[in-house]
Each structure stands twice: as C-alpha cells, then as structure tokens.
C-alpha cells in the first residue's frame, strides 16, 4: 500500500507565511477573539449579582454511587428521589465481558470513569452519566466483539484503524466509551476524544508554522498532553523517546528521555505541538503498552474546518496540526506498531454532517445519490478509505431487556410491564436510542393490575 503523501498547507497559507515572517510574529492570527480578550483580562466583569433566595433548595450531590457530580446544579426530577442502589448490576471489568453477561446492565467502575472524565465525556450521554446511581450501560454483543478485537491487537496482531458506523441512535458513542474503559482497565494507554469537532470548529487558537507547513494549535496540543499525562502517568513513565527531538524554541530533547518528562514540557504552549508529535509518535512506535486512540465525532477529521487563512481561504482538517497527527497514524505515514485507532461517526453534530466524500469512501447509506459527477475531495476520500468499517447493529431482545431494566431502575422509564416493553421495542424498530427515548416519553398508562 503506497503511503499517502503528507498534505501540505503551504499553498493555501502562502500569504500566511509572508505575514508570519514579520518581526513581531510570535503571536499567530487571532481566531477566537473572545478567548484572547478573556486571556488579556479585557472582558468586563459581570456585575456582582445578589444571590437570589430560592424556594427550591438544591439537593446535595448523591453520596452513594459513583455519579452525581457536585458541579451539576440542574435540579432534575430523578434527583427528587433517593439515588437507586445498583449494586446488583455487573461491574464493567474486563472479566465481566463474557457471553452470559450479554444484555445485562452494568455500572462503570468509579476510578475508570473519573479517569475518562479527565478527557471529557460525551454530552449526549450526560443523561445517564451524570444521573444519580452512576454511569451505566448495557453489555452488548458488539461490546464483546470490540473487546475481542482489542485482545487480538494486544496479543500481537497488526495495529488497526476502525470506524464505527451505524444509523442514528445505534449506540456508537456508548460503545466507544465502553471500549475506552475496557482498554484502560486492560493496561492500554488511552487517548479518548469525546468531541473531535472541537479540533476544527475554530474554538482554539491557531498559527501557521512554515517549518511544517501546517497550522499549529498550541493550546489544544497542550491540553491533550495534560490529559494524556494525567490519565496514563504510570505507562508514560515506563516509555522513553526512541530518538532525540528538536523543539520549536530550539531546545533538544535527548533520546531516552522519560515520556512523562517530555509530556510535562508540553505545558509551555510554544513547544506543545512538537511535544505532542513526539509523544504520540513514541507511543505508537513502542509495543510494550498498546495505544488506543478513541475519537468520537470522527467525521470532522475528514471535513473542512471552520478556520480561515488570512486570505479567507478555507482550511481543511488535514492542514491543522492536531487532526493531521492522527491522520498520519491512519494513513501510515507514522509507524504504528501496537495499538488501535477507533473512531466513531456521530449523527449528533449538525454543524458537521457526513459529506458525500465520506459517504462514498465508507459506503454509508445516503439519501442523496452519489453519482460520478458528485464532487469528492481527494485527500479526505483517500484518508477515509483506509478505515475499516464496523457496523453497529440494532438491539437484540436480551439487550433491550437489559436497557428496559436499566431505565426502570434509574427512574426515567414510564413504560411498565411486558406490553410497554414490546410496544416500545416495536415503535423503535430495534434502534437503541429510539427505544430509550420511547421509554421515557411514552404516554400510555400501564394496564391496571387485576
């Protein structure tokens, strides 16, 4: 397989290069002016508001269970009752992923979920993840399949690049979270990205770097390094740099330096991008600890970003340092010895729908026909075609039964009894998200007990 050449942002950013070589160009181009204004302290302070006395006293965060965050101030109906005791649920450990547990609701171990919370958790799953009783999920057949795939990688198979595809509400984000949790407990080094759209929606500063001909995102790189270090400190300490690295400010990090030390250097945003590059490259090359890169909202890696060059030309995702780093791993431009890149497409980001290029590359079902005259973006198409598609199917009856029980125990299910179960399952047509939604929004009263 011929390696894809590194797409260059040089042509698109020619004017940027000219501007960047000006003497006082240590700062890049302002993107999010609010961000920079806030950093400089120019934003006016909001007038101190009198604390309104309210009738409803917010209940204290649930002490039992591994959920119920103290920072969550929204009073929800489910919080009006005592938190449910989910002690009889299966704990989501690697040894619990056995065929007899398929369809059983399970709770995530508290420590693992707190570690994943460092990376951030998907907002659309916050209904379950932040509810009293703790984060839960149902063990599905696809969970076991993913665990088996990870075990295969760990035991010596080649590094894999997967993409989770399926209809809206099929459970891809939850599966990604389950896989990240499994990997973390199995000794993998995990980098979990719940919202990859934050990489390209121009919410973090960017500046053009002539040396790499890409747009660097220093704040983002620094943040990722901090998260990686905080979650995988032990594993990073045991890995060393395979060869010396030259950083942007001229410093050189010698070969054999502990990766944890290298990652700490990333706190300085000036060198963060180079440090992230070096750390990820080193992790991908070693085979002692397999690396899992779990990226949700992955269609943003293959679409146009919201950034603009000074000439107001659009910037593609592969022109930005952070997406490009992982696209290098996908395309094979950087060696990836042991580990996996697991991406998941998301239907919950309306700003970044699936482009015809992505649909064509991954053979996704589309409502608009793809003809030979449909314009496709070559680089994105080439990158996306290298991913191996994994289809996430609908609910089986046992899995639906587990989800029904989970919803009932957590207290947000209105459907009761066999009739409510079957009716919700038929109404959802096997779709996981619609099944859960139907349970909480059903208007049919339970039949009277005779």
């Amino acid at each position: 397989m011929s390696l894809l050449p590194r797409p260059s942002a040089a042509r698109a950013a020619a004017a940027a290069a000219a501007a960047a070589t000006a003497p006082s160009s240590s700062r890049g181009f302002a993107t999010s002016s609010l961000l920079l204004a806030a950093a400089k302290g120019k934003a006016p302070k909001a007038p101190a508001k009198k604390k309104a006395s309210s009738f409803a006293k917010k209940p204290p965060a649930a002490k039992s269970g591994s959920g119920g965050r103290a920072s969550d101030i929204t009073l929800r109906y489910v919080e009006a009752r005592p938190p449910p005791d989910l002690g009889d649920f299966v704990r989501f450990h690697p040894e619990s992923l056995i065929p007899s547990n398929i369809g059983r609701p399970s709770t995530f171990p508290r420590q693992t979920i707190e570690q994943l919370r460092t990376f951030g958790l998907p907002r659309k799953l916050s209904k379950d993840l932040d509810s009293p009783g703790g984060p839960t999920s149902v063990v599905r057949q696809c969970t076991l399949d993913m665990a088996q795939r990870l075990d295969g990688i760990k035991s010596g198979k080649k590094a894999a690049k997967w993409v989770l595809a399926g209809e809206k509400g099929s459970g891809r984000s939850t599966l990604l979270l389950q896989t990240a949790s499994y990997a973390l407990e199995s000794g993998w080094i995990v980098l979990y990205v719940p919202h990859a759209s934050e990489w390209i929606n121009s919410s973090s500063p960017y500046r053009y770097s002539p040396s790499t001909s890409t747009f660097h995102q220093p704040a983002l790189a620094s943040k990722l390094l901090g998260q990686l270090l905080s979650v995988n400190a032990n594993a990073l300490s045991s890995v060393t740099l395979p060869k010396s690295v030259q950083l942007e400010d001229g410093r050189e990090v010698s070969q054999g330096t502990n990766l944890a030390e290298v990652a700490k250097m990333g706190r300085n945003e000036d060198v963060a991008v180079g440090v992230l590059d070096a750390v990820i490259g080193a992790l991908a090359q070693q085979s002692e600890h397999p690396l899992l890169v779990a990226i949700d909202e992955a269609q943003t890696l293959f679409s146009r970003s919201a950034y603009r060059t000074p000439d107001n030309e659009p910037v593609e995702s592969y022109h930005l340092s952070t997406p490009l780093l992982f696209l290098d791993l996908i395309a094979g431009r950087k060696p990836f010895t042991s580990g996996a890149i697991l991406t998941s497409l998301s239907n919950s980001v309306p700003s970044y729908p699936f482009t015809p290029t992505l649909s064509s590359a991954l053979s996704l079902p589309t409502t608009e026909p793809l003809t030979p005259y449909t314009p496709l973006e070559g680089v994105h198409h080439a990158h996306a075609s290298l991913l191996e598609k994994i289809d996430v199917d609908g609910l089986s009856t046992a899995e639906a039964k587990g989800l029904f029980e989970l919803a009932a125990r957590k207290g947000w299910s209105r459907a009761t009894g066999d009739e409510g179960f079957i009716a919700s399952l038929i109404a959802a047509g096997g779709n996981t998200g619609e099944f859960a939604r139907g349970l909480s929004r059903t208007l049919v009263a339970a039949p009277a007990e005779l």
Partner: protein, 319 residues
Amino acid sequence: MSVASSSSLRALRLASAPRFARAASTYQPSSSSSVDAPPPRARPASPSFFTGKPTYHDSLASLQSSLKSAQTSLRAAHVYPLPSSLPMPQPPRASWVSSSALSTMLGTQLRTNTHREVVELLNELHAVRHLADLAGMADVASSVDSALERYERPEKVEAGKRSGEGSRVDELGRAYAMGRRKESSARVWMIANPKATGSLDVAETLGFASELPISEVLVNHLPLSAHFVRPCDRETVLRPLRITGLLGAYNIFALARGGGTTGQAGAVALAVARALAILREDVGDVLRSDGALMRDTRMVERKKTGKPKARKAYTWVKR
C-alpha cells in the same frame, strides 16, 4: 246543532223582510235538509288522526305500549329490573332499517333527533326481548318480536355485506385496508408475523426473551421510528394492536400520503384497525368499543368573513 242552519236563517230573514205580493214568483227554494247539512262522517279510528303525523304517533304509541306490557310481564316475574350488582346482559347487535325506510314507514321525514329517539325506543324493546329470552318467557319475547318485526333489517343484506369484495385476506395472507384522518390517507397491508407462532410453548423451552416476536412496521418504506419522530404518533399507530393484545403478531406495511405527521399517524391507525378486523373476527368488538374503527371526521373549520380565523374574532371596539 248549535249553529243555526242556513235554511233557518233564511226563514228568519224572509219573515222579517217586508212581504211583497209576488204571487207570480216562480222561484222555488230547494229543500233545506238535502244541501246545507254536512255529509255524515265516520269517527276517526285513532286519536292521532288530528295530529300532523298520524302514522308516526300511532306507531310510536304501539311500540311504547308493547314495551310497557313486556316490562310489566317481566316485572311480575321478578326479572326486570335486574339488581345493579349484576352485569347488564348485552343483547346481540341489532340492525334496524335505514333512516329513509323508517321515514317511509312512519309517514314523515325523520330528523336526526327524532330518528335517534325512535331508534332508542327500538333498542329498549330489543333489550327487553333479549331479557325475556334469557328468562325463558317465550310469550313475552314473541310479542315483542311481532312488534319489532317490521323495523328490523333483513338478515341476508347484513351477511352479504360481511363477505364484501374488499374485505378478504388475499392468497398470500395479506389484509388490505384504507384509513383517513384530516387531509391524510393511508393504505395498509398486514400479514401474520412468521416468527409469532405458538409462542406459549416456545417460551417454556427456551426461556424468557430468547427472541420475542417483534412486528416490523414500515411506513413509506421507512421504519416506524424514522417516519414518525414523535413517540406519541408511533403509539397511535400501534394502539389497535395493543388493545387487542396482538403486539408482535402482525407485520405492517403502510403507505401514507397527505396532511401532516399526526394526521398520517391517525390514518395509518384506522387502516391498521380495519385490516385487523379483516384478519381476525374476534377483535371487532374490542376495536369498535375503543373507537378505533371510527373515522375521526373532525376537519379544519373554514375561515369566516369578518373574522381573522374560524372562531377568533377581531378585538371589539366600543366605537
């Protein structure tokens, strides 16, 4: 004879008028009794002769009297009225002649309210007849029978309607039905779910929820959850199956057109109920009592002149 006859008036007039000596007058007045007396009239047979609708009143009076006599007989036998703790026995479905035929029979164009009153009286008689049958009082039952005979629709028409052309299960086992709601219309084909056979035995051997029979529902070639975004619309569509306890028993293919989401949901639901009534004879009563087989005739009311909408009025201004 309270009124003086014309002949006697004439006689009075002649007597008071001055007498002329008209010996040669040739005018001969006719005899008084043959012209001026009214023809003899027969006494009317019924007191309602002088009403505007004699046949109607007569028929109603005879029905009411037969009802009264039947009720009296049943009361004497301590059968009527039943104690309130006992459930009221439901008589078999009665079919009366059409409104137009009833109008002809009763000799007057029946308006809606009048027709309803007549039908209510007939239904009361029908219920009393059923009660008499159950009590074994054949004479009472036969007397009510004879009173109701002319008002009942002949049986063969009803049987013919049941096995009409469009209400059969075709050679592939599909039932086809149509439904409408507001501006929407839907066509539905229903077929038995091949996975839903003899599940009572299967559940024992394989354990709960091994593979429950799940209905597949396609509306305009999309799954139910994809076509109807609101969960309550999906529940509307599945309600006929739910109330008959047949969730999972049939697969549904529907084509809906026109109107909006809720209108299409109602149309599909009506069509599903009709198709279900074709497929199974035992569910018709349940569906009818739920109202699932009734076409909801509510339509958007037209806008009227002088008003911004059908009912909303412009702000009243005193002057």
